[in-house]
């Protein structure tokens, strides 16, 4: 009886959160119906005409959709790969430092960019790579003509991946550094007595200690292959680089809120949500099976 009494309180505690969740997460899910309608804001969700899969068919016929999906995939995969590798290398280098004060200083500073928004960061990136930016000033000193980096479709993806990795590498390294604190120092000593040099110590002791973490992070990032980073792209791109820089999220934004094609934008959004959902589900399954990782 007493336990049932407590359960009542538990429901009460969950109430505000659940109301919020229903209002702002679950109710919008019903709006997905729009993707299968020819939605007309005047008629609303209940009176709009149903068109089945027409919006999806139309979406895939558009040239933009193929470009956008390809761009999203390339940018996201690039970010995943380099956001795994660069922090790994950084963590290993940091782990090799002897001066603890220097180590602490480096760590403190490299976390910082993560906490600044892409709005702030892109103003800085544009300041540095823009036509009148530092990079052009410097190459100008060597007699090279200034380039419009931000408007060059050929390098826009590399710029996106590069700046994202630069912004996040310190933050992403935290988890590797934590894994390294768990390494038994005896391992290093034993290996050194066996005559291992610095490089061999890194290869035989440090790297194996990080393998599981890398694999786990890699598996978990599978769900992000369609998340190329709206904030970053939206704040850095311009019509000149749509061909290589436009991603699903920015496309949905332009279709939906700027061109007011509600149904088409919802269909494109749903396409992304469903694929991401399936991938995340698979990745959590894999993480559980191979690394014993559970969310809760």
């Amino acid at each position: 009886m007493r336990k049932l009494g407590h359960q009542k309180h538990y429901y009460l505690m969950l109430l505000p959160g659940m109301v919020w969740l229903v209002m702002f997460s679950i109710v919008p899910m019903f709006g997905i119906a729009m993707a299968f309608q020819n939605y007309n804001p005047g008629n609303g969700l209940f009176k709009s005409e149903w068109v089945g899969l027409d919006n999806f068919k139309y979406m895939f016929q558009l040239n933009d959709s193929k470009t956008v999906i390809l761009n999203t995939f390339i940018i996201a995969v690039g970010k995943i790969v380099f956001n795994l590798l660069i922090p790994l290398i950084f963590a290993i280098l940091l782990n090799e430092l002897r001066s603890l004060r220097y180590k602490k200083l480096v760590q403190t500073v490299v976390y910082l960019p993560h906490f600044l928004s892409w709005v702030i960061m892109s103003t800085i990136v544009i300041g540095i790579f823009g036509y009148y930016g530092v990079v052009n000033t410097i190459i100008g000193m060597f007699g090279v003509d200034p380039k419009l980096f931000m408007a060059d479709a050929g390098i826009f993806r590399q710029l996106l991946i590069g700046t994202d990795v630069w912004k996040e590498f310190g933050y992403n390294a935290i988890i590797y550094l934590a894994a390294l604190t768990g390494v038994n120092p005896n391992l290093y000593e034993a290996a050194a007595i066996d005559g291992a040099n610095r490089w061999q110590l890194i290869r035989r002791v440090t790297l194996p200690a990080l393998t599981t973490t890398v694999v786990l992070l890699g598996v978990l990032s599978l769900g992000n292959v369609l998340n190329a980073g709206f904030d970053q792209v939206y704040n850095l791109y311009n019509p000149l680089v749509y061909s290589t820089g436009d991603i699903l999220d920015t496309w949905v934004y332009r279709l939906g809120l700027q061109n007011l094609q509600f149904s088409l934008a919802t269909a494109a959004g749903l396409f992304k949500s469903v694929i991401s959902f399936v991938l995340i589900f698979i990745s959590y399954r894999l993480a559980y099976r191979y690394a014993d990782y559970t969310v809760f």
């Binding site: 997460s25 009148y132 310190g170």
Partner: protein, 295 residues
Amino acid sequence: MVRNKTLGSRTFEIANIIVLGLLLISCIYPLWYTFCVSISDKSAANAGLVTIFPIGFSLSPYKEIINDRLFFNSFWISIQRTVLGTGLSLLITVLMAYPLARPKKDFKARNAFMWILVFCMLFNGGLIPWYLTIQNYHLLNTIWALVLGGGVPVFDVILIMNFFRNLPKELNEAAVVDGAGPWSILFRVYIPCSIPVLAAVALFLSVYHWNEFFNGLVLMNTSDKYPLQTYIQQLVVNIPVGTNLTPEQYKKLSELSNRTLNAAKVFIAMVPMLVVYPFLQKYFVSGIMLGAVKE
């Protein structure tokens, strides 16, 4: 760590110090650069001459900002949003985390709620349905659209829940024996025991609210309702969406900006983060670890 003083080892060490030093500079340089541009002479800054040190000296952008009503207005909206959003989310998150941290025999419906939460974390209706929903609630142009529109921070609920679950069971039992009900156990035992994780979550929430620009852009119709990041975004980054932009036009557009003034605004927007950051550093590191490693 073993020290072997071979030549190779020393070379590596020096190279390592230099490489890490360069990385360190690369992370601090943008802040420095922004600051330098903001206090430099206007024409030098616009011509892109500022690289390492400010050229000339002028505080006129800062003087101009002092009279900019719209800037302070958006600053104030951001503060309100961050305080309200962080406080509300933290309270609701903690309230949800406690029941979900109970063992299943104490709270039978636990797993059902858990699945709803996880489903909502992984799947969403997408941009347009979300926008229309908020429009239907008549929240557009209100601070509540910004505070509530980001949704329930389910990930933070799970983070706190995992922390609660790892607190010793005896804590709960002892409190029950002393006659405490769920509310006093939560507020007088569990919360005081969880300050580090709550601080980490509060930090994540406030960083989110301070940095978020998109909800402000989409959900607010007039620029006097924009939070700071949206205000800056509109000011600095926004290049008009035209389909037939040529590289020359793009160049013209980037010439138009008043770089010293913009840099000063960006710099001021960074200041709150820079001030708070050193105090919270230890908390966010522990917060990430909680999210990553369990038991």
